[in-house]
Amino acid sequence: MTQPSLVARITDFANRADPYPLYAELRRTPVLHEEEGEPYVISSYWDIESLLHDPRISSDAANMTAAGADELQSESTGLPPSFIRLDPPEHDRLRRIANSAFGPPHEPRRVDDMRGELHTIVTELIDGFAGRTEVDLVDQFAYPFPVTVICRLLGVPREDEPRFRSWVDPLVASLDPETRQSAGPEFVQAAQEARTQLGMYLAGLVEERSKDPRDDMLSDLAAGKGPDGAMTMMEVLSTAVLLLIAGHETTVNLITNGMLTLLRHPEYLQRLREDPELAVNIVEELLRYEPPVQLVPQRTCITDIEVRGVTIPKGSRIWLMLAAGNRDPERFKDPERFDPDRDDLQHLGFGSGIHSCFGAPVARLETQIALAELARRLQDPRLVADPPPYRPNAVLRGPRHLTVTFDGLNP
């Protein structure tokens, strides 16, 4: 009996709880190409990092479609590709406009000013645990928190969450290579439909905001005040869909992976309880050790390129295995150890290069506050199941539930 291919084992749900031994196996062939038509899989830190900065590598959805793997982004969804699926110069223009509504220099305080609000949301969610000794941290905390934040940031009504969740779920599921492969064309069509629906929903909001602007990103995007002018309406919608999804699906996992890791390393949970500032280092190390985005499957090369002596032919699909690179012993001392005290807190958790995570400042702040408050307030928290049940997705990896028991809440 032949063993399934390594890529198949990585995307296989059965290995979701601990894919790291497979990543170690992967790194033994730093440029892995198992079969004709399959992606070239890159797993060493330095190679990934250098390809993320390589101008011969494209993120363009059109190139992807040409390489035979991206029906979702095609025009049938009615929305143009978001900037994460574009190359410069279009990527740069859209990302700059989006950034002018989000960060410095135009909105230097937008994220930092949310500190107090983030604290309040976290406090309310934890207060909601009162009278109980067991909660699912995913459903009761790690999901609602970033959703509330991204809604507030974009200007999407929080109470619409059940509506957009029904569109977001199939979209996120469609990012998983295994799910897509096994599901067939109707699944892809459902995801396209969801994207269209979500776009139409957001279109209504953008229209309201352009008439009656508020202090939120949708208003700013609709107004198009930045030095690069305005996005088209369709570009605003693509961008909003992207930010809405990326703005919470990843942070849920970062927070959940974070609590799971801390519960497995109680000495750090204890230290965090005593010193909330340790959250900064803990979050950076988490982004290395258990990154929410495990791999980037959306790259192609526009010319023949050579990586470690292997020529990757023009037009090939390339998978960048961020989570494997993060534990590359060529790059990190003792990479399999969770060690927020390491001198060299680096990672590929947010990617790198022009597509490096747009929302990183918010994700960092959210997770720092979330973990510090959970550590401080939960009395003697314990895992109910280890490993917890995982979501099927191999790209956006994280527990589906994280049930934790505790003795009570600190005020």
């Binding site: 900065h53 101008p55 494209s58 110069p89 740069d92």
Partner: protein, 463 residues
Amino acid sequence: MAADYVDWLRREGRIVIVGASLAGLRAAETLREEGFTGSLTLIGDEPYEPYDRPPLSKSVLLGKASPEHTELPRRRELDAEWRLGVPAAGLDLTGKRVLLADGEEVDYDRLLIATGVRARPWPVPEEAELDGVFVLRTRDDATALTEKLRAGARRVVVIGAGFAGSEVASACREMGLEVTVAERAGAPLVGALGGVIGAVAAELHLENGVDLRTRVTVTALEGDAMGRVRAVHLSDESVVEADVVVVSLGSMRNTEWLSGSGLGAGPRGIASDAGCRAFDFRGIVTDDVFVAGDVARSPHALFGYQFLSLEHWGNAVAQAETAAHNMICPASDRRPHMWMPAFWSSQFGVNIKSVGVPPMGDELMIIQGSTAERRFVGVYGFKGRVVAAVTFDNARWLEYCQRQIEQGAPFPVEYPTVDRRPEGRQPVAADFPDPSLPTHGPTVTLSGYSPADRRLVFTPGHH
């Protein structure tokens, strides 16, 4: 024997660092980090503890940062003796003593020289002393200039359109002041980046309302009866009225105090080997004297072992760390200083970054983006390889370019890239000025001496 000496030195030796700025501070921190427990003395001519200079021509002028609050963050406790506000005045190599301007002497077992550079002053002293004439290098300079600009300046003339001059012009425009920039070359930044990129910089000046005058020199600064500057005379016979003049003519290396010491020090800096050990004037490496930062010049393996002097923030840090490490380790553990030259500037809202040694390149290709949009990646080629790159608002590609330089990648660049435009398909002359002609100082000095200075007489028979 040698190992015993290093052990002793690490434990109870006396290390003196002359120069209490970025390189001096980072070296001191590295010494302590690597276990040096002996006595540590830092000597600095300014009365301040080490501070950061890049903000002085940007956020400090704009009032976004106070000149008093640009202290360099400390990585650790130093346990050092600070001799601030008194410059070093001489060096006794044989007696291993640094002489201070106040007559005191400081003995050392190992010495690090990190005296950096200073602003080149306006050459006519009585004109330089007019009220309203400034240079910008130190915290005091920045304080004085900022006060003057805020006290209702009407027109500022900036002499020299290198990085510092351009940044000053940019800040002044942002403050709404009228600015004239006078530049001897055909465009701003040509010394550092060449004429093609200089032309892009010129557009930036013009679009931001700078009155840019190129191919002119300033012939005189004119004062009024009260000793205040009132006008600037240019070589094209025009006269620009001004109440503030910022002299931005590059820098001079602080090596005068070493004259007669026997060290290989001169106007181009202090020569050292790749491990930061200073050469004496005979080209022989010294054992106990190390150099780092702007004042140093050392051979670089990637650039044909040319001696490079780099006025770069990152170089000061990296070289200081290497020098400090080499000062207190056995010979077999010494490291070469192999930092990739890199610098950044921010002006007129554009982020300019560079890696490698652009002035070494004779050709240029825009491999991504477009100079017309002023967002691009340009690479410089020399003898068939990539030696440098520059980005305008495209810094995230720089790391790739750096790797290309490190790998000696071929030039011209023939492969497609994600944002390649027709204009970048052919290399063009990078258009650096003849190095024997004086322009504003480049941030990299390529070799030990100016080609204009080749007056050496080689007489090995006469010792």
